[in-house]
């Protein structure tokens, strides 16, 4: 009897030890539910083959991504060892202790020179210019455009366009041309519309569309170093940029008041619009004939320049950070060492991920690999981001509240909307004592 109990206890102990060993050899990465997350799972399977460490990419729908991540942070939970967080989260992730400081890791691997500068500044560094790093650029992304190349190249359309506007119909070089083309193709009686833009205001959709227009009109959201917004977010250039975005909305399909990536891709796949704004990460579906019946007639271009030649695109994409509450930080660090290797970055790009590796992005092989890679590369050289301060969610909500009624509802003027944003943001920065810190 006693021997039986001893055997049972030994077996239980062995099982417990084995379970713990197995747990130590597993890593969990948390990301949003979209195609790049599937590509990442494919990529990390190689890491499992090489090291025996099982890596799982756990996902949740975009709408729930931020809430779920920060809920886990609030609980100081170790459910995720790494998180592929939005660029705007850097402030909260770093100053509130959720992310592990990767500055030494960055320097050890000379990553400032490995990755494209804009991606280092956008996905890894906080505060701006501090050379303190909290993430490794993982999925580069920017807001670009898809267009109906077949409509643009139709000789009848070309002739009609030239007769009306006095120049050749082609990929728009500036916002004026973008507006003209949108107007030209706006034909509600044919169920054909000019342009599909972001209008959803539940997260950062409308903000991304508007900010890149404001940037390209020579305006800005504020001074990211001093938090000054007065005279910047409501400057003449910013107002003109917002007016231009509002003008574009007039040429969108009916009911386009809640449009984000899904709707904007549908505008192309359903043959609704001539041009459609979207993040590059969503363009593979448009180049694929099984998901887009017009794939062969679809082209892509980077956000056009503004009237003064200023040229910007809104930064999308994410960096991968180690969660400070993870009990497997060393294993996560080893994984990142594997991830930043040139060979891994190459494979990541081949699988469909948007690598931020400078060498790969600049290579002709990458730029010619897909119909949208060249536009992506051009966009990544001119990306600019939203505020990444810890209170970014409040800033975003305040911006949404002011922009939406003007753009979609046609209420008030662009100046009134941006004066309102200026007042709200100043109040919020005061609340967080941003000015007294300076």
């Amino acid at each position: 009897m006693r021997r039986g109990i001893a055997t049972l206890l030994a077996a239980a102990g062995l099982a417990f030890a084995m379970a713990n060993t197995a747990r130590a050899e597993e890593l969990t990465i948390f990301w949003a539910e979209w195609d790049p997350a599937n590509y990442l799972q494919e990529l990390v399977n190689d890491y499992t083959k090489e090291t025996g460490v099982k890596v799982t990419v756990e996902t949740t729908p975009w709408t729930d991504f931020q809430t779920k991540t920060f809920r886990e942070f609030a609980a100081k939970g170790d459910a995720y060892d790494m998180v592929v967080g939005d660029s705007q989260w850097l402030g909260a992730g770093s100053t509130q202790g959720h992310y592990v400081d990767l500055t030494d890791f960055f320097k050890k691997h000379n990553l400032e020179n490995v990755f494209l500068p804009a991606t280092v500044a956008g996905y890894a560094e906080y505060p701006i210019g501090s050379h303190k790093y909290w993430a490794i650029p993982l999925e580069g992304d920017a807001n670009g455009w898809a267009y109906r190349k077949d409509w643009f190249e139709d000789p009848k359309e070309k002739a009609a366009f030239k007769a009306k506007y006095g120049y050749e119909l082609g990929v728009p070089k500036d916002y004026k041309q973008l507006r003209d083309i949108a107007e030209f193709f706006y034909r509600p009686d044919q169920k054909r519309y000019g342009i599909a833009i972001y209008t959803d205001n539940s997260y950062d959709a409308i903000a991304m569309g508007v900010e890149q227009t404001i940037f390209s009109y020579g305006g800005d959201l504020g001074n990211y170093a001093t938090y000054k917004v007065n005279g910047i977010i409501n400057s003449k250039q910013a107002i003109e940029g917002l007016e231009a975005y509002h003008e574009l909305y007039k040429f969108a399909p009916p009911g386009w008041g809640k449009a984000f990536f899904l709707e904007d891709n549908q505008a192309i796949t359903e043959g609704l619009a001539a041009m459609s704004m979207n993040f590059f990460a969503f363009f593979p579906a448009l180049a694929n004939p099984t998901t887009n019946p017009h794939a062969s007639g679809t082209g892509f271009f980077a956000n056009p320049a503004g009237p003064t030649g200023a040229h910007f695109a809104a930064l999308g994409g994410q960096g991968i950070s180690i969660v400070s509450y993870s009990k497997k930080r060393d294993a996560a660090m080893k994984f990142l060492e594997w991830f930043v290797k040139d060979s891994t970055q190459k494979k990541w790009g081949d699988l469909g991920g948007y690598t931020c590796s400078k060498a790969i992005l600049e290579s002709q092989e990458f730029r010619k690999a897909t119909p949208y890679n060249e536009a992506f590369y051009q966009s990544m050289l001119m990306v600019k981001d939203f505020w990444a301060t810890p209170e970014y969610a409040e800033l975003l909500d305040e911006l949404n509240q002011r922009l939406y009624p003007y753009i979609v509802g046609g209420k008030g003027t662009a100046k009134e909307a941006l004066d309102g944003v200026e007042a709200d943001w100043t109040k919020t920065f005061n609340k967080y004592k941003r000015y007294s810190q300076k």
């Binding site: 809430t67 920060f70 609030a74 509130q96 959803d200 009911g255 809640k258 509802g409």
Partner: protein
């Protein structure tokens, strides 16, 4: 001969008194209530007096009534309350008219009455998120059947700042009118038939019979339905959140969600939750007082 039974004997034999057994049944419920209801209620009340973010790793700072003052001085919050009030009025008003109307129609001998009643109850058995998504399709400007049936062309129901709230309210009316119908039907079937017979002998008009007999007798149950629906409509989150992202459809519950889980202003969101609680209690009290008056008549 009546034998006095020792009710404790069986339990006592096993070492358990009636009081112990009673406590064993009650204690888990009380523990559950304390852990999941009372403790969070008190904890959130305490949190509402602090500048505190659950996600920030920063210590909470006591600010007294500052959160309440800021919220009540915020034009956004008042705008959310005003949107909610309009929504409650339209939604509950519509549910009472439609629900009571259907109940009156069903309160007679008609073929397949049971089947019709069951079918009419289906909407309220569905998930609110599913109903929201379903109606989003019905409202689609390009190919939605609503615009087609009413000949409204490409009218963008859910993107139009004015129409969006009414579109959401119509969906809520569709979903919850059956609830009002059910309670009204219970009230209507309890009205004594002899009152109608007496009214018929006196040659009372249809309206007179309805306003002097039907309505007063159904009123208590109808008021209970209104109390429940007002409380629920005031807290509406799911349908509005799924259907529209307009600032004009941002009900107070959506604002609370954003404060708590998007902006992580934990202290302030607790304060807003308490403001909402006080408002719901005040509205309910007014209804209950009126209900008592109706019952006393």
């Amino acid at each position: 001969m009546i034998t006095k039974l020792d009710v404790n004997s069986a339990a006592s034999a096993r070492g358990l008194t009636d009081i112990t057994i009673r406590n064993l049944f009650i204690l888990p419920t009380i523990a559950f209530l304390i852990i999941f209801n009372i403790f969070p209620l008190i904890y959130s009340l305490g949190s509402s007096f602090y500048d505190y973010s659950a996600a920030s790793n920063q210590p909470a700072v006591f600010v007294g009534l500052q959160n309440y003052r800021d919220l009540l001085a915020s034009p956004y919050i008042w705008s959310n309350f005003s949107i909610t009030a309009k929504y409650v009025l339209v939604s509950v008003g519509g549910q009472v008219i439609v629900g009571f109307g259907i109940a009156v129609l069903l309160n007679r001998v008609i073929p397949f009455k049971g089947l019709i009643t069951t079918l009419l109850l289906l909407p309220m058995m569905m998930s609110a998120a599913v109903v929201g998504l379903f109606w989003q399709l019905l409202y689609s400007p390009s190919w939605g059947p609503i615009n087609y049936v009413f000949g409204l062309g490409d009218f963008p129901w859910l993107s139009d700042p004015t129409a969006a709230l009414y579109a959401v309210a119509i969906t809520d009316i569709w979903m919850w009118s059956p609830f009002v119908m059910l309670l009204s039907l219970a009230g209507l079937s309890a009205v004594p038939k002899h009152l109608y017979e007496a009214a018929a002998i006196d040659r009372a008009s249809g309206w007179y019979t309805f306003s002097r007999i039907t309505l007063p007798l159904v009123a208590p149950l109808l008021l209970i339905a209104i109390i429940f629906r007002t409380m629920e409509a005031f807290k509406t989150f799911d349908i509005a959140y799924v259907m529209s992202v307009q600032p004009t459809t941002e009900l107070i519950a959506i604002r609370l969600y954003k404060l708590a889980f998007q902006e992580w202003q934990t202290g302030r969101s607790c304060a807003l939750a308490y403001i909402m609680l006080i408002m719901v209690l005040a509205i309910t009290n007014i209804y209950v007082k009126y209900l008592n008056q109706v019952k006393a008549r």
